[in-house]
Symmetry: C2
Subunit: 154 residues, 2 copies
Amino acid sequence: MKSLFGSPGKPSGLALRLCQCLFAAASLAVMASASGFSTATSFCYLIAAMGLQVLWSFGLACLDIHALRLNKDLHNHILLSFLLVGDWVTVILSLAAASSSAGVMILFMKDTDICRLQPSLSCYTFQISIALAFIAWFLLAISSYVVLWLLATV
Amino acid sequence: MKSLFGSPGKPSGLALRLCQCLFAAASLAVMASASGFSTATSFCYLIAAMGLQVLWSFGLACLDIHALRLNKDLHNHILLSFLLVGDWVTVILSLAAASSSAGVMILFMKDTDICRLQPSLSCYTFQISIALAFIAWFLLAISSYVVLWLLATV
Protein backbone atom coordinates (compact mmCIF):
# COMPACT_ATOMS: atom_id res chain seq x y z
CA MET A 1 0.00 0.00 0.00
CA LYS A 2 1.22 3.48 -0.83
CA SER A 3 2.17 5.82 1.99
CA LEU A 4 0.83 9.29 1.32
CA PHE A 5 1.36 12.57 3.15
CA GLY A 6 -1.09 12.59 6.06
CA SER A 7 -1.58 8.79 6.19
CA PRO A 8 -2.84 7.41 9.53
CA GLY A 9 -0.01 6.26 11.81
CA LYS A 10 2.62 8.52 10.16
CA PRO A 11 4.20 11.70 11.65
CA SER A 12 2.55 13.81 8.89
CA GLY A 13 -0.82 12.24 9.74
CA LEU A 14 -0.34 13.06 13.42
CA ALA A 15 0.64 16.66 12.60
CA LEU A 16 -2.47 17.04 10.42
CA ARG A 17 -4.76 15.67 13.17
CA LEU A 18 -3.21 17.95 15.80
CA CYS A 19 -3.66 21.01 13.55
CA GLN A 20 -7.32 20.05 12.89
CA CYS A 21 -7.90 19.67 16.62
CA LEU A 22 -6.16 22.99 17.38
CA PHE A 23 -8.07 25.07 14.83
CA ALA A 24 -11.43 23.47 15.71
CA ALA A 25 -10.81 24.08 19.44
CA ALA A 26 -9.79 27.69 18.72
CA SER A 27 -12.92 28.25 16.63
CA LEU A 28 -15.10 26.74 19.38
CA ALA A 29 -13.44 28.79 22.14
CA VAL A 30 -13.63 32.06 20.20
CA MET A 31 -17.31 31.54 19.32
CA ALA A 32 -18.25 30.48 22.86
CA SER A 33 -16.50 33.56 24.30
CA ALA A 34 -18.32 35.98 21.94
CA SER A 35 -21.27 37.78 23.47
CA GLY A 36 -24.59 37.16 21.73
CA PHE A 37 -23.68 33.96 19.89
CA SER A 38 -26.95 32.41 21.04
CA THR A 39 -28.93 34.89 18.91
CA ALA A 40 -28.41 32.64 15.87
CA THR A 41 -28.92 28.86 15.80
CA SER A 42 -26.12 28.63 13.18
CA PHE A 43 -23.55 29.89 15.68
CA CYS A 44 -24.67 27.29 18.26
CA TYR A 45 -24.48 24.62 15.53
CA LEU A 46 -20.92 25.79 14.73
CA ILE A 47 -19.95 25.21 18.37
CA ALA A 48 -21.47 21.70 18.28
CA ALA A 49 -19.78 20.81 14.97
CA MET A 50 -16.39 22.10 16.13
CA GLY A 51 -16.82 20.18 19.40
CA LEU A 52 -17.39 17.00 17.40
CA GLN A 53 -14.34 17.72 15.23
CA VAL A 54 -12.16 18.32 18.33
CA LEU A 55 -13.20 14.95 19.82
CA TRP A 56 -12.73 13.09 16.52
CA SER A 57 -9.35 14.63 15.62
CA PHE A 58 -8.02 14.31 19.18
CA GLY A 59 -9.02 10.64 19.30
CA LEU A 60 -7.26 9.95 16.01
CA ALA A 61 -4.18 11.92 17.09
CA CYS A 62 -3.97 9.62 20.16
CA LEU A 63 -4.27 6.60 17.82
CA ASP A 64 -1.45 7.99 15.65
CA ILE A 65 0.78 8.52 18.73
CA HIS A 66 0.05 4.93 19.82
CA ALA A 67 0.90 3.60 16.34
CA LEU A 68 4.10 5.65 16.12
CA ARG A 69 5.31 4.56 19.58
CA LEU A 70 4.68 0.85 18.97
CA ASN A 71 5.60 1.13 15.27
CA LYS A 72 2.24 -0.36 14.25
CA ASP A 73 0.77 -0.26 10.75
CA LEU A 74 -2.73 1.23 10.69
CA HIS A 75 -3.31 0.48 7.00
CA ASN A 76 -5.98 -2.19 7.16
CA HIS A 77 -9.39 -2.28 5.50
CA ILE A 78 -11.56 -2.26 8.62
CA LEU A 79 -9.81 0.65 10.33
CA LEU A 80 -9.59 2.68 7.09
CA SER A 81 -13.32 2.13 6.42
CA PHE A 82 -14.12 3.32 9.95
CA LEU A 83 -11.89 6.40 9.48
CA LEU A 84 -13.47 7.10 6.09
CA VAL A 85 -17.03 7.18 7.43
CA GLY A 86 -16.08 9.25 10.50
CA ASP A 87 -13.98 11.68 8.48
CA TRP A 88 -16.63 12.28 5.83
CA VAL A 89 -19.45 12.76 8.33
CA THR A 90 -17.31 15.28 10.25
CA VAL A 91 -16.18 17.05 7.03
CA ILE A 92 -19.77 17.52 5.82
CA LEU A 93 -21.00 18.72 9.23
CA SER A 94 -18.05 21.14 9.60
CA LEU A 95 -18.51 22.67 6.14
CA ALA A 96 -22.27 22.98 6.68
CA ALA A 97 -21.71 24.67 10.08
CA ALA A 98 -19.05 27.07 8.80
CA SER A 99 -21.12 27.97 5.70
CA SER A 100 -24.37 28.51 7.59
CA SER A 101 -22.58 30.75 10.11
CA ALA A 102 -20.94 32.65 7.25
CA GLY A 103 -24.37 33.11 5.61
CA VAL A 104 -25.80 34.57 8.83
CA MET A 105 -22.69 36.75 9.31
CA ILE A 106 -23.03 38.23 5.81
CA LEU A 107 -26.71 38.92 6.55
CA PHE A 108 -25.72 40.70 9.79
CA MET A 109 -22.95 42.76 8.20
CA LYS A 110 -23.88 43.40 4.58
CA ASP A 111 -27.58 42.81 3.98
CA THR A 112 -28.69 44.48 7.21
CA ASP A 113 -27.05 46.83 9.70
CA ILE A 114 -27.57 44.57 12.72
CA CYS A 115 -23.85 44.62 13.62
CA ARG A 116 -23.80 48.44 13.64
CA LEU A 117 -27.17 48.82 15.37
CA GLN A 118 -26.50 46.23 18.09
CA PRO A 119 -22.99 46.82 19.49
CA SER A 120 -23.67 44.05 22.07
CA LEU A 121 -23.10 41.49 19.27
CA SER A 122 -19.38 40.61 18.93
CA CYS A 123 -19.46 40.57 15.11
CA TYR A 124 -15.67 40.75 14.79
CA THR A 125 -15.23 37.75 17.11
CA PHE A 126 -17.84 35.78 15.14
CA GLN A 127 -15.83 36.36 11.94
CA ILE A 128 -12.58 35.10 13.52
CA SER A 129 -14.36 31.96 14.74
CA ILE A 130 -15.87 31.30 11.29
CA ALA A 131 -12.48 31.77 9.57
CA LEU A 132 -10.88 29.29 12.02
CA ALA A 133 -13.73 26.82 11.35
CA PHE A 134 -13.06 27.00 7.58
CA ILE A 135 -9.34 26.29 8.18
CA ALA A 136 -10.23 23.33 10.47
CA TRP A 137 -12.62 22.01 7.79
CA PHE A 138 -9.96 22.32 5.06
CA LEU A 139 -7.38 20.38 7.13
CA LEU A 140 -9.94 17.64 7.85
CA ALA A 141 -10.87 17.47 4.16
CA ILE A 142 -7.20 16.71 3.32
CA SER A 143 -7.18 13.81 5.82
CA SER A 144 -10.45 12.41 4.48
CA TYR A 145 -9.20 12.45 0.88
CA VAL A 146 -6.00 10.66 1.93
CA VAL A 147 -8.02 7.96 3.72
CA LEU A 148 -10.37 7.50 0.73
CA TRP A 149 -7.38 7.27 -1.64
CA LEU A 150 -5.60 4.73 0.62
CA LEU A 151 -8.76 2.61 0.88
CA ALA A 152 -9.29 2.64 -2.89
CA THR A 153 -5.68 1.66 -3.62
CA VAL A 154 -5.45 -1.18 -1.06
CA MET B 1 -11.23 -0.92 -14.53
CA LYS B 2 -14.32 -1.60 -12.47
CA SER B 3 -17.68 -0.30 -13.64
CA LEU B 4 -19.62 1.19 -10.75
CA PHE B 5 -23.17 2.49 -10.52
CA GLY B 6 -23.08 6.05 -11.83
CA SER B 7 -19.85 5.67 -13.82
CA PRO B 8 -19.37 8.22 -16.64
CA GLY B 9 -20.57 6.93 -20.01
CA LYS B 10 -23.04 4.41 -18.51
CA PRO B 11 -26.87 4.66 -18.44
CA SER B 12 -26.81 4.95 -14.61
CA GLY B 13 -24.27 7.81 -14.88
CA LEU B 14 -26.49 9.59 -17.39
CA ALA B 15 -29.55 9.15 -15.15
CA LEU B 16 -27.62 10.56 -12.17
CA ARG B 17 -26.44 13.61 -14.15
CA LEU B 18 -29.97 14.29 -15.47
CA CYS B 19 -31.41 14.09 -11.93
CA GLN B 20 -28.71 16.48 -10.63
CA CYS B 21 -29.47 18.91 -13.43
CA LEU B 22 -33.23 18.65 -12.84
CA PHE B 23 -33.09 19.25 -9.06
CA ALA B 24 -30.57 22.10 -9.39
CA ALA B 25 -32.69 23.77 -12.10
CA ALA B 26 -35.82 23.35 -9.95
CA SER B 27 -34.04 24.86 -6.92
CA LEU B 28 -32.82 27.79 -9.04
CA ALA B 29 -36.24 28.40 -10.60
CA VAL B 30 -38.11 28.21 -7.27
CA MET B 31 -35.64 30.58 -5.55
CA ALA B 32 -35.63 33.06 -8.46
CA SER B 33 -39.44 33.10 -8.49
CA ALA B 34 -39.69 33.81 -4.74
CA SER B 35 -40.34 37.42 -3.83
CA GLY B 36 -37.66 39.01 -1.65
CA PHE B 37 -34.84 36.56 -2.35
CA SER B 38 -32.46 39.47 -2.88
CA THR B 39 -32.78 40.47 0.79
CA ALA B 40 -30.11 37.89 1.68
CA THR B 41 -26.79 37.43 -0.16
CA SER B 42 -26.95 33.69 0.66
CA PHE B 43 -30.08 33.24 -1.46
CA CYS B 44 -28.40 35.00 -4.41
CA TYR B 45 -25.35 32.78 -3.88
CA LEU B 46 -27.65 29.71 -3.94
CA ILE B 47 -28.96 30.81 -7.35
CA ALA B 48 -25.38 31.21 -8.65
CA ALA B 49 -24.25 27.83 -7.26
CA MET B 50 -27.30 26.01 -8.66
CA GLY B 51 -26.72 27.74 -12.02
CA LEU B 52 -23.16 26.40 -12.04
CA GLN B 53 -24.40 22.91 -11.13
CA VAL B 54 -27.01 22.97 -13.92
CA LEU B 55 -24.33 23.90 -16.50
CA TRP B 56 -21.86 21.28 -15.19
CA SER B 57 -24.36 18.40 -14.92
CA PHE B 58 -26.00 19.23 -18.26
CA GLY B 59 -22.62 19.28 -19.98
CA LEU B 60 -21.69 15.90 -18.53
CA ALA B 61 -25.13 14.45 -19.37
CA CYS B 62 -24.47 15.44 -23.03
CA LEU B 63 -21.05 13.77 -22.80
CA ASP B 64 -22.69 10.60 -21.44
CA ILE B 65 -25.27 10.60 -24.28
CA HIS B 66 -22.44 11.00 -26.82
CA ALA B 67 -20.49 8.10 -25.22
CA LEU B 68 -23.56 5.86 -25.10
CA ARG B 69 -24.50 6.55 -28.75
CA LEU B 70 -20.99 5.90 -30.07
CA ASN B 71 -20.30 3.20 -27.47
CA LYS B 72 -17.16 5.02 -26.31
CA ASP B 73 -15.28 4.30 -23.09
CA LEU B 74 -14.84 7.42 -20.95
CA HIS B 75 -12.63 5.70 -18.35
CA ASN B 76 -9.28 7.35 -18.98
CA HIS B 77 -7.03 9.17 -16.55
CA ILE B 78 -7.15 12.65 -18.09
CA LEU B 79 -10.94 12.80 -18.41
CA LEU B 80 -11.52 11.30 -14.94
CA SER B 81 -9.08 13.82 -13.37
CA PHE B 82 -10.94 16.67 -15.10
CA LEU B 83 -14.30 15.29 -13.86
CA LEU B 84 -12.91 14.86 -10.36
CA VAL B 85 -11.78 18.48 -10.03
CA GLY B 86 -14.99 19.86 -11.55
CA ASP B 87 -17.23 17.58 -9.47
CA TRP B 88 -15.52 18.41 -6.19
CA VAL B 89 -15.49 22.16 -6.78
CA THR B 90 -19.22 22.03 -7.63
CA VAL B 91 -20.00 19.76 -4.64
CA ILE B 92 -18.28 22.09 -2.18
CA LEU B 93 -19.91 25.22 -3.65
CA SER B 94 -23.37 23.57 -3.66
CA LEU B 95 -23.14 22.38 -0.06
CA ALA B 96 -21.84 25.78 1.07
CA ALA B 97 -24.68 27.56 -0.76
CA ALA B 98 -27.41 25.24 0.55
CA SER B 99 -26.05 25.42 4.12
CA SER B 100 -25.65 29.19 4.19
CA SER B 101 -29.20 29.62 2.86
CA ALA B 102 -30.47 27.14 5.46
CA GLY B 103 -28.65 29.11 8.19
CA VAL B 104 -30.33 32.36 7.08
CA MET B 105 -33.71 30.59 6.78
CA ILE B 106 -33.48 29.28 10.36
CA LEU B 107 -32.60 32.80 11.52
CA PHE B 108 -35.65 34.17 9.68
CA MET B 109 -38.05 31.51 11.01
CA LYS B 110 -36.80 30.41 14.42
CA ASP B 111 -34.39 32.95 15.89
CA THR B 112 -36.39 35.98 14.78
CA ASP B 113 -39.96 36.54 13.59
CA ILE B 114 -38.99 38.12 10.28
CA CYS B 115 -41.09 35.63 8.27
CA ARG B 116 -44.19 36.42 10.32
CA LEU B 117 -43.57 40.18 10.45
CA GLN B 118 -42.79 40.56 6.75
CA PRO B 119 -45.39 38.63 4.73
CA SER B 120 -43.78 39.98 1.52
CA LEU B 121 -40.97 37.41 2.01
CA SER B 122 -41.85 34.03 0.45
CA CYS B 123 -40.42 32.00 3.34
CA TYR B 124 -42.20 28.80 2.31
CA THR B 125 -40.81 29.05 -1.24
CA PHE B 126 -37.29 29.65 0.10
CA GLN B 127 -37.54 26.41 2.09
CA ILE B 128 -38.62 24.37 -0.95
CA SER B 129 -35.71 25.78 -2.95
CA ILE B 130 -33.20 24.96 -0.16
CA ALA B 131 -34.54 21.39 0.16
CA LEU B 132 -34.18 20.90 -3.62
CA ALA B 133 -30.62 22.28 -3.43
CA PHE B 134 -29.70 19.73 -0.74
CA ILE B 135 -31.07 16.89 -2.91
CA ALA B 136 -29.11 18.22 -5.94
CA TRP B 137 -25.95 18.38 -3.78
CA PHE B 138 -26.46 14.81 -2.53
CA LEU B 139 -26.84 13.43 -6.07
CA LEU B 140 -23.71 15.30 -7.20
CA ALA B 141 -21.80 13.98 -4.16
CA ILE B 142 -22.59 10.38 -5.29
CA SER B 143 -21.15 11.10 -8.76
CA SER B 144 -18.01 12.70 -7.34
CA TYR B 145 -17.33 9.71 -5.04
CA VAL B 146 -17.75 7.32 -7.97
CA VAL B 147 -15.27 9.34 -10.07
CA LEU B 148 -12.72 9.49 -7.22
CA TRP B 149 -13.08 5.74 -6.65
CA LEU B 150 -12.67 4.99 -10.38
CA LEU B 151 -9.59 7.20 -10.60
CA ALA B 152 -8.01 5.59 -7.54
CA THR B 153 -8.62 2.06 -8.83
CA VAL B 154 -7.35 2.66 -12.40
